[in-house]
């Protein structure tokens, strides 16, 4: 199989054994790589009855066919497991530099099972791997652990590390690549921590990457790299990061404020936007391997209560999660909070959202000083968040730390029914920092039907609603009004297939906006030799969507779980979307019809399963 190595690494941490195996060849063209491939491997080798944090739970890292290709946006990869946060199948995507290195080392992914007796590190080099014990790393933050591993294995080695939050099984713990990029969502850091696996290190000598048609591939990659480099929208990202247009987002009502209770805060808009970050704290830009977009920030704050040394800075989600969402417009504080979350190993979205839930619960008297270990919580009090809440959560210290470390949905369940009104999520995953009421009504639908829960990268719906996409070859040749339900179900059908392709090919959602549909097909064909037409590619995307849906059906999810919190369906009280209601049920019903999903079970009909060649998988999943 070109574009891939054909080999997966299997690791059993209970006995320290490592083996290489070759997945069935048809998996590559049917499930591509990344999230799709990981799902299919789990169906083959996983157990749906296993607790996400039990030793025999599986944690899968999976590359796409383009990892190692010198193409902007192609250095991402997926991690997948049953999520300890949501209790169902989930995957997370990470950029950075690990994916190409793992491909060059000879593997398309890693399948991890078991539990190490002592804290361990998985060390991978050219076609080999071993598990080494490193008890001295346990308890260290991500920064010190990464530095120690670089010292031991060389600066050119690439790392995946968990922080104390992962060790302590915080339900939204993340996994960090080389101190900067993250598998942020769904708590996969806790799965790694439950296995006693502190880190994975990879180093490859070779830089070989064999593709199906080198001449066509080189020409196409060259064209795409030039276009991506010259793109107006991506140059905006390069200049001012992923928060470049945060200010514009505030005026559109897309940016959540005080736990999604407001959609407009003019003073905050300029204070937190990307150009302000550039002016005040940016030291340089950084990029994922081979990417010219360079949307990552390296920042330094030299004075004040939130001074931090030069290092990775926050992206949009972190700035909003620890800015407007918690009622603060202190940009330096978002940098500090983001740095702390990285070091402790916590997803900034779920962490910020869970704290926002607590602030609202405290304000309304649902929790008090006693439940908060003596702390007073109030909107905008970033000092308390940084100095007390973040370390308390990561260490699950006291009643408050224990409460919040389970995420906002579990916290509301423990606290009382009224506080459930403050949850903003889908399927137990806290919503990202795009409010569908202002960002686009179709986003409400894709948050709801995404397999992992409220997720803005499960599909390109945000970009489609904002007019950044034009795909006439697959029927998306019209403009959408973000604040309407018109054509949203039809668009979501395409968006979910495209999202599955993105997350399985492991392409960046920013960079791949510059790639046309025929070029997507040409990429798959010239790299992996799939010999696809457009409809084959779209069918693969939808197949992956259906597979993940079948898996979550086995985990107990039904059509009624395809919903979002009532707060997001309540008309906004201010800003551009004020008073406009999202017609969610209408969009969902139409989406279900178009996707042939049963209105009760939420899974496709037998005919559709046959049409998408999923009979075998459905048999395994549904019949056990």
């Amino acid at each position: 199989m070109k574009g891939s190595t054909g080999h997966f690494l299997s690791v059993n941490l209970s006995d320290g054994s490592t083996n290489s195996f070759c997945p069935p060849i048809d998996y590559y063209s049917r499930f591509i790589g990344g999230a799709g491939f990981a799902a299919r491997l789990f169906v083959e080798r996983g157990n749906f009855e296993t607790d996400p944090l039990a030793p025999d739970a599986l944690l899968i890292f999976s590359l796409g066919p383009f990892a190692g290709l010198r193409l902007s946006g192609a250095s991402r990869f997926s991690a997948a497991a049953c999520s300890p946060l949501t209790g169902h199948w989930a995957d997370s995507s990470c950029g950075g530099n690990f994916a190409p290195e793992l491909k060059f080392a000879g593997f398309d992914g890693i399948l991890i099972s078991g539990k190490a007796e002592k804290p361990s590190v998985l060390v991978i080099s050219d076609h080999t791997a071993k598990v080494e014990t490193y008890p001295e790393l346990w308890g260290l933050g991500v920064e010190k652990t990464t530095a120690a591993l670089k010292h031991k294995f060389g600066k050119a080695s690439k790392t995946l590390v968990i922080g104390p939050a992962g060790e302590n099984l915080v339900k939204f713990a993340c996994i960090i690549n080389d101190g900067h990029s993250a598998f942020g969502r769904a708590g996969l850091g806790a799965v790694m921590g439950s296995k006693g696996l502190k880190a994975i290190v990879v180093r490859a000598k070779d830089r070989n990457f064999i593709v199906e048609d080198p001449i066509a591939c080189r020409k196409l990659v060259s064209e795409l790299n030039s276009r991506i480099k010259e793109s107006v929208t991506l140059s905006v990202m390069r200049e001012n990061g992923t928060a470049a247009n945060l200010e514009g987002g505030v005026h559109l009502g897309d940016v959540p404020i005080r736990n999604f209770t407001s959609n407009f805060w003019e003073e905050m808009a300029e204070a937190l936007t990307g150009s302000t970050l550039s002016e005040k704290y940016l030291k340089r830009r950084a990029n994922c391997d081979f990417c010219s977009v360079a949307c990552k920030r390296i920042v330094e704050i030299t004075e004040g209560p939130f001074a931090i040394p030069k290092g990775p800075g926050p992206e949009y989600e972190t700035i909003v999660s620890f800015g407007s969402l918690i009622g603060s417009m202190d940009l330096a504080a978002t940098c500090k909070a983001g740095k702390m979350c990285n070091d402790l190993g916590m997803d900034t979205i779920s962490c910020g959202a869970t704290i926002a839930w607590a602030l609202e619960a405290f304000e309304n008297g649902d929790i008090g000083v006693e439940e908060c270990d003596g702390l007073q919580l109030k909107w905008g009090d970033i000092n308390t968040i940084i100095n007390h809440l973040l370390p308390t959560i990561a260490e699950k210290r006291g009643g408050l730390g224990e409460l919040l470390a389970g995420g906002s949905v579990a916290a509301a369940r423990k606290t009382g029914s009224k506080t459930r009104e403050y949850n903003v999520h889908a399927k137990g995953l806290e919503a990202p920092m795009h409010d569908p009421r202002g960002g686009g009504h179709g986003l409400a639908l894709t948050y709801a039907v995404s397999h992992r829960g409220a997720c803005h990268v499960s599909s390109p719906m945000l970009f489609m609603e904002m007019g950044a996409c034009y795909y006439p070859e697959i029927g998306f040749d019209y403009e959408l009004d973000p604040l309407s339900s018109e054509n949203k179900a039809e668009s979501a059908v395409l968006a979910m297939a495209l999202g599955s392709l993105e997350n399985s090919a492991c392409l960046c959602q920013f960079a791949d906006r510059e790639i046309t549909i025929p070029e997507w097909v040409a990429l798959f064909n010239s790299v992996a030799g799939f010999n696809w037409e457009i409809h084959d590619m779209m069918k693969a995307g939808r197949r992956i969507f259906y597979l993940q849906r079948l898996m979550n059906h086995r985990y107990g999810l039904r059509a009624e779980d395809d919903k979002i919190s009532s707060r997001l369906l309540t008309p906004a009280v201010d800003g551009a979307p004020e008073g406009i209601k999202i017609e969610f049920d209408k969009m969902k019903t139409k989406f279900y019809n178009l996707m042939d999903l049963d209105p009760e079970t939420g899974i496709p009909s037998s005919k559709t399963l046959v049409d998408y060649n999923l009979e075998t998988e459905a048999d395994i999943i549904l019949k056990g």
């Binding site: 107006v232 905006v236 990061g241 992923t242 928060a243 247009n245 005026h251």
Partner: protein, 73 residues
């Protein structure tokens, strides 16, 4: 008629004019076209916090915010 412009976010560095002169019966779409901004920025106009549709008529002396829909995340 003269329309006063307030560029927001990523539009700010790309729109130098503080106002533009357009035909008396022009709608928002015509105004946006006259700004010559890169199409991929996909800008819209907002007045009094509300998004204006492209066929909405403008009044002489109106001030509009020009906002790009190009969001990151």
């Amino acid at each position: 008629m003269r329309i006063f412009l307030e560029p927001i976010g990523v539009v700010r560095g790309r729109l130098c004019a503080q106002s533009v002169e357009i035909d008396g019966d022009s709608a928002v779409g015509k105004l946006i076209e006259s700004l010559n901004l890169p199409p991929k920025l996909n800008v819209i106009a907002i007045t009094d916090g509300k998004r204006l549709s492209s066929d909405e008529k403008l009044k002489d002396g109106a001030t509009v915010k020009i906002v790009s829909l190009a969001l990151g995340g």
